[in-house]
Amino acid sequence: MKVRHAPFAASLALFYATGASSADEASVTLRAGPHSQLAATRCVICHSVDYITTNASVMTRARWESTVRKMIDKFGAPVSEQEAREIVDYLTLNYAGLDAQ
């Protein structure tokens, strides 16, 4: 680190957790569980999994159902109806914070 940046970096460090030195999406992963592999392979075609994890606390089963529908119907995600049900089950079990409260 360049010395002249140290005070600025120190002030930032008080407020933020520091991640990898460059943006590497492999540092965020989905929880293991039934159908996690399916979710991991389908969802990551178009986006990193932090789209899932950062929304977890806002989500419910109904919201995951509509989100997965939107991905299939509006965005053309290659997901069968059976897979959609499994992905919704997985997301609801692991990333539906509002349901859990």
């Binding site: 178009c46 509006k74 053309g76």
Partner: protein
């Protein structure tokens, strides 16, 4: 000396909880991460990349290019060789389709600059209660820059605008992974496209646009939400019909009632209408909530205020919970689309907690509200900011 290792270790045990989010059940640690060519920014997502400017980097009048926030919908973002880049202008209401190189754009049309705020529609979405899904932006999906380029009007006029033109559509080089995913195509009403303050910009703060902010050319629509400022602009179409893609018809829409704003008649429906210009707003940048300041040392509350283009008339501060308001000092007026500084002296002779409420008023007479108007996508967060400091 502070090493990177100690910084990381310190940061890891001090996840910062945003004051406005303190009532959340789980702490929200913001993570800094670095995109090539950018300083560390708050990472909201890796791919497509969504990165937010930390508050400390919003203190300058012009947000540094390498600190400016990054927002994408689609994950395929080509690095564009400016020499190979072409801008195509066509459409059913275009009299004579044209294609321009960057040099042709620069040499054929008059160059102009404008200072303007660029703010994401969903800036502060993460501060809505109840919370709404989407990129959980804090306060930093915003920046202010001097944009330099040519007038869109001049380019459209060179290609010939037919009398039946209704909208102009804009497409950039960024594209979806799956062919079935709707490309990010936005449109403007013909009137706004022909407004002399709508630009095709290639410079930002006197330097070429950074890759992550739309190089080599992007649309600049001062006063309107960032969603219209198409990055990596490649295709402009003048059309006699309303654009009907997903990003106009389904996304970036507000409830038809409940919000002020310029109308976009060709895109309005019974229930919803597209977001258009920014609402009056402000942000304290000098301090974070909960900060301690030393007794009797002079200190000022500072920040920025802006709206959709009428300009800022006043910024008012209340220290008694909103019962009485007094006007803060305003900084330089850099234009009606620029943000304007406000300054308020902090009475550091009085020890203890200080609670400030800040609200901006536009020249059009609009004021920041005490309560937000709920909307499913979490747009237009402009509630009066409340910030507490401790003098000790």
């Amino acid at each position: 000396m502070i090493t990177r290792r100690t910084l990381v270790a310190t940061a890891a045990v001090l996840p910062w909880i945003h004051p406005a989010l303190a009532d959340r059940k789980e702490p929200l640690a913001d993570v800094l991460d670095t995109l090539p060519g950018k300083r560390p920014l708050i990472r909201r997502s890796f791919r497509p990349p969504n990165f937010e400017t930390p508050l400390e980097l919003l203190r300058q009048p012009f947000t540094a290019n390498d600190a400016f926030y990054v927002r994408y919908h689609l994950a395929v973002i080509p690095q564009i060789d400016a020499r190979e880049w072409r801008l195509r202008v066509g459409g059913a209401s275009c009299k004579s389709a044209q294609e321009f190189t960057l040099d042709e754009l620069r040499s054929r049309f008059e160059r102009t600059s404008i200072a303007a705020v660029n703010q994401c529609s969903g800036n502060r979405r993460g501060l809505f209660t109840p919370r709404v899904p989407g990129v959980q932006w804090g306060t930093g999906a915003i920046g202010h820059a001097v944009w330099t380029g040519v007038r869109l009007r001049d380019v459209l006029t060179a290609a010939g605008v037919a009398a039946n033109a209704l909208e102009v559509t804009f497409d950039g080089a960024d594209r979806p992974v799956m062919p079935a995913t709707p490309d990010f195509i936005k449109s403007l009403p013909i009137e706004r496209a022909l407004d002399p303050e709508t630009l095709i910009a290639f410079d930002m703060n006197g330097a070429p646009l950074p890759h992550w902010n739309g190089a080599p050319a992007r649309l600049v629509v001062p006063g309107w939400a960032g969603t219209y400022w198409t990055k990596h602009l490649t295709d402009i179409r003048i059309e006699p019909r309303a654009a009907d893609g997903f990003w106009m018809k389904s996304a970036y829409r507000l409830p038809s009632s409940g919000f002020p704003g310029i109308h976009f008649p060709s895109q309005e429906a019974a229930e919803t209408r597209p977001i258009t210009e920014l609402l009056v707003n402000s942000l304290i940048t000098s301090h974070r909530g909960g900060e301690r300041i030393r007794r009797s040392e002079s200190a000022q509350l500072r920040g920025w205020s802006w709206d959709g283009g009428s300009g800022i008339a006043a910024v008012e501060v209340s220290e008694d919970g909103g019962q009485t308001w007094r006007e803060a000092a305003l900084g330089l007026d850099m234009g009606r689309f620029a943000w304007r500084e406000f300054r308020w002296p902090i009475d550091t002779a009085r020890a203890g907690g200080h609670r400030f409420m800040v609200r901006a008023r536009s020249r059009a007479g609009a004021r920041q509200p005490r309560e937000l108007t709920p909307n499913p996508s979490g747009y237009h967060h402009n509630r009066i900011q409340t910030l507490e400091l401790e003098v000790a």
